[in-house]
Amino acid sequence: MRFGGEPYLVITAGEEVMTKTVEVNVHHVTRVEGHGNITLRASDGNIEKVEWQVPEAPRFFEAMVRGRSYEDIQTIVSRICGICSVTHSFAAIKAIEAAMDIKVSKQTDNIRMLLHYGEQLESHALHVGYLVAPDLLGQNSVIPLAKSHPDVVKTVIRLHRLGNTIMEVLGGRMTHPVTVKPGGFTVLPTEAQLLELKQMMEDSVPDITTLADVVLSLADKLPVFERETEYIALVEPKHYSFYHGDIGSTDTDEVKPVNEFESVVNEYVTPQSTAKWAKWHRDSYMVGALARYNLGADHLLPLAGKIARKFGLKKGCCNPYMNNVAQVIECAQVAEHSLQLIDEVISAGIKDEKPDVKVQAGNGAGAVEAPRGILFHRYEFDEKGICTGANLCIPTNQNHGNIQKDFEAFAPQIIDREQNEIRLLLEMLVRAYDPCISCSTHYLDVEFI
């Protein structure tokens, strides 16, 4: 595995007598978080091999948290992922609260959701604006776009900063929050701070509309590829869910409680990946914005619904590239719901609550929607609150199998195209999932006592 010593991209094509071979090897796909490789080999239009590989260095978080106090868990597991650090923090805290039967107030719930929305907005703006937009505008990165499309880049920067500001005000800093604890917050925002956030949220609506219009104007650059699959996300009866709810699937009307998540993810090891893969009712399933949309689109708030109609995105869409569009719609959804949450917290009056934890032995699971899909954590603690076992199942791991199945279905459809185009379409497919491969944590077969 050399950096730069050999090209990242090796494409060879030989027009031999009667034989046309196509070979695509992308070593470390760019503009994604973490490391993934694409391999495709075909001869005379027959695909001999098409593979999505994950060579990310494993980090063994489940092993490392053993022996640590419940108080240290969030600090450690937040480091699984820079861009989902709030989500990992909340999955851990919810699991700890379930294990120790800790109840939190409505105020804590609302401020957590608000903080969580900051991360959704920041991550979606970064993904759509910095990582995907260059593909749609025929560039290698966002850097040339700063000159060719300065207004678009500045719009994305403003939305990105708004997400970051929410995290900084409520979480203490932009990445790896410090204020979030089992039971509540170490410090609470003031009413003035919340009103300031509210004003910024209201001011962001034109930017969200602009982002949607820009993506809409480029929507014909998103490849047309459909493959029916299972979509899994948190669901609530009356809300578009990111933080609360049970596990829902497009393959069944039944929902599973979060505490039974292992029976949903069914992870397994494959030689082409250091990350584990997952399956439930089919060979693979998809999580992320499109999954949330396919399960929750009926509960979108007005602006998000309006943007969804502009795109004509139907519930039940099975084009994975449309995950990017679902992310744009979700930017509107989280902004609108944030305004409601701020009003609710302020009108109830901010109460000076401190986390109240009675340490006890227990085992609990927590689930939250990361920007890139549903995230599960489970921990077990002894009577002193020392962690004795953990099981973490991250969204991108759940998507790896689905990316592979998409490759297998899509490659034959595009194999007669130019090789550079084949490469680009496969890279774009990976990017559409907004993978976060650094979250290299894995299922384990823990014997919980």
Binding site: F60, L131, I143, K154, T175
Partner: protein, 251 residues
């Protein structure tokens, strides 16, 4: 003068330090006036052979990654460790407190023997190659990053703080975390973060590593004064400071 060519690489980490570069927002555009990114997998599809400045995020946890890092070092004029995983090993070094075979067994169970899941003891970047500058923190402070890039682009030597977090915490007029009955690593940890954690109701967990020559005796006195034991301290030191010389000394 042509702009220095910079590159970013990441090994075992959360990529949250590169995220702080994005988090500079408009200021990135200003930095692009001073330096030219030529390779940055997370942001660009371009690549290059030689770099004036290579930023390395992440710890080294596999023999193959050591070779990759040495290769980058050979092709770089200056190499900078970016963030705690790179500067001190960070949370990744928690793994080194366990038997590695057992760690693999714990996470991958019956599949632990598969060759591609190989792992070795976590190393900081400086344990593998020469490091010219360290940008500390988990995550790094984006303003400090911008300051260091500006200094280097202009041929100046950046000043990396070498006083403890307590200094910055006192300037913020925070109540000492020990007064809350907590153990805080502020007395021995390198400042430069603006005491973000103590200012937000959390003890310092030492993500910027130790100051040079940490005042171990003073740290012991503080522990005694607040009725804390060395065992209490050891537990906290392990979080970001596992397998560092200063940790062993204090323990």
């Amino acid at each position: 003068m042509s702009k220095p060519k910079v590159a970013f690489f990441d090994f075992a980490c959360c990529e949250g330090c590169q995220l702080q570069v994005y988090n500079l927002e408009e200021d990135i555009l200003n930095l692009l006036e001073l330096v030219e990114p030529v390779e940055w997998r997370e942001a660009m599809s371009d690549k290059a052979e030689k770099y004036d400045i290579a930023f390395i995020e992440g710890s080294i946890t596999r023999p193959g990654d050591e070779e990759s890092l040495k290769d980058i070092r050979e092709r770089s004029t200056m190499l900078i460790a970016l963030g705690a995983c790179a500067t001190i090993g960070g949370v990744n070094k928690l793994k080194n407190n366990f038997d590695l075979a057992e760690v693999k067994q714990c996470v991958y169970s019956e599949s632990a023997g598969m060759g591609h899941l190989e792992t070795s003891a976590t190393k900081s970047v400086g344990e593998v190659v020469k490091v010219d500058y360290h940008i500390h923190g988990c995550p790094i402070d984006k303003q400090e990053f911008a300051y260091i890039v500006r200094c280097l682009a202009l041929g100046k030597t950046p000043v990396i703080p070498n006083h403890p977090v307590c200094v910055e915490c006192k300037m913020k007029e925070n109540i000492c975390r020990f007064e809350y009955g907590e153990i805080c690593l502020g007395p021995v940890t390198r400042a430069g973060c603006g005491a973000k954690c103590p200012s937000n109701g959390m003890w310092c967990f030492g993500c910027r590593g130790y100051v040079d020559n940490p005042n171990v005796n003073a740290a012991r006195e503080v522990m005694d004064q607040y009725g804390k034991t060395i065992a209490d301290l050891q537990g906290k030191l392990k979080l970001f400071g596992s397998k560092q010389e200063a940790t062993d000394e204090m323990a």
